[in-house]
């Protein structure tokens, strides 16, 4: 039985990773049209360095993701704290409201933001994209931090109070340090969500400036340039490393 399970799981893994590995391999292949034999070459990565558009878009993606991480983590942590420590009537409703961004198709969310932003004058552009990304990241941050908060038992905060610590001192010296791994995990998560986000960015991007996924999409639709392979390889490695960091941090960070 174990062998069967192992074989099946390996097959699933092959299915999941095959196209990615092929793409990464092609990024290092000199031929522009996937012709074999395989000759190792960094030509496409070099070409990437000269591609102004892609570089600008990469930079946009990175700083939006970073700012998004900071904002979403800050707002989300506060909200998660409220959910974990207090009972109040609206709580159920508020928790329900976290679902739309993740359950409604991003197509619809993106479109509605486009409509609304135009109407009220916010318009399109990087600032609009940032607004959208934070909204998407918030539910994830609240869930991740919320889970970690459950580990910071109320008794620890009560103990601190009995020892004479004011609520602020308690938060700074006890709650926050223990919460830290969860907050960091949430921030990395938010960064990844924003960095990889395509649909919302697509609708909210102004012509001329956009994020990396949007640029890649446009390039794919126009016709293929092998630099896409190179940048895609880089992106995938960045995303996956980020996620590995989250997994590590979340699992091993802090003791009970």
């Amino acid at each position: 039985m174990t062998r069967l399970a192992k074989i099946y799981l390996v097959a699933v893994l092959v299915f999941l990773y095959l196209p990615i590995l092929v793409m990464m391999a092609m990024a290092f292949n000199r031929s522009a049209l996937y012709e074999m034999p395989f000759t190792f070459d960094l030509v496409w990565f070099k070409a990437l360095m000269e591609n102004e558009r892609l570089l600008q878009a990469s930079w946009n993606s990175v700083w939006i993701a970073a700012v998004n991480a900071v904002i979403a983590t800050a707002l989300g942590t506060l909200a998660a704290y409220a959910f974990a420590r207090y009972e109040f009537r609206l709580k159920g409703l508020l928790q329900l409201l976290l679902f739309p961004p993740i359950t409604i198709p991003w197509l619809i969310i993106g479109i509605s933001m486009l409509i609304f932003f135009f109407w009220v004058g916010i318009g399109r552009g990087l600032h609009a994209i940032l607004l959208g990304h934070v909204a998407l990241s918030l539910p994830y941050v609240i869930v991740v931090v919320g889970a970690r908060l459950r580990d910071v038992s109320v008794q620890l905060e009560e103990a601190a109070a009995t020892l004479g610590a004011t609520p602020q001192q308690t938060f700074r010296r006890v709650t926050l340090p223990i919460l830290a791994p969860g907050v960091i995990a949430a921030a990395l998560f938010a960064f990844a969500v924003s960095f990889d986000q395509f649909v919302i960015s697509y609708f909210l991007a102004a012509p001329g400036t956009s994020t990396l996924p949007v640029e890649i999409f446009t390039a794919i639709r126009k016709g293929f340039t092998p630099e896409i392979n190179a940048i895609s390889t880089i992106i995938i490695l960045v995303s996956m490393s980020l996620m590995l960091l989250v997994a590590r941090n979340y699992r091993f960070g802090g003791e009970r």
Binding site: M23, Y34, Y81, V199, I216, I220, L244
Partner: protein, 272 residues
Amino acid sequence: MNKQSRQAWTIFGLTAPAYFWLTITVLLPLTAMLYFSFLTATPIGGKEASFTLKHYIGFFEKHIYRYNAWRSIQLGLFVTSICLMLAYPAALGLAKVIKGRWREAIFLLIILPFWSNALVRTFSWTMVLREPFDILYTYPAIVIGLVHAYLPYAILTIYVSLQSIDDSLIEASRSLGATRWQAFYRIMLPLSMPGVLAGIFLIFVPVIGSFMEPRILGGKQAIMLGPIIESQFTALNNWPLGAALSFIMLAIVLIILGISTPLIKPYLEKSS
């Protein structure tokens, strides 16, 4: 200020920033979109627009929209069922057969692609599907791309729900005389239903709303509601129609989920 109202202010202060953000980025936009769907034309650049139901009516009158909606639903059903069928054995193997460090490692490996860039993953399929398989720009290509994208999700939800089933339940059933198949069918399967259902909800909805995968992998075969809606906002510049179609899509999703919930309730009750 007494303790009660101090507490209320604290709660408000903690939750307000996040929810204010969500209001202006999700709630108000959805409302705005609803309003838009009743306008005759995109009211931008000074254009006049008045109230109309024509977009909604158009959905029911024009065959093409209903055809596309049906194609989207079909796609959703296909992708969801294939995902579940492939995911269940994988989740089962991972939860009950593989043990120890391997389990964690394989689990992480399965989840990792899911949390990486969806666009890039879809793009990577264009290489493989072009040669040697040569099925790019076909319907099956779209299905493969979507299954690849959402399979980890299904494995995750089913795995989590299987994990929570105590091994001693299976052992108890075996000691009472059940064969392995019976133990699975009567105990494990019903108890894992919440995970399966979570998977269904989390896959079906995004698939119906997808447009990126159909466009990249399907080309002209991307005859679905998602791409049509998208084109209202890019090439065709008919925002009200796009808005109306979006709500229709939401309605379709809600109706389907609404119909299936009563069918699902008995399963959920059995397992709890």
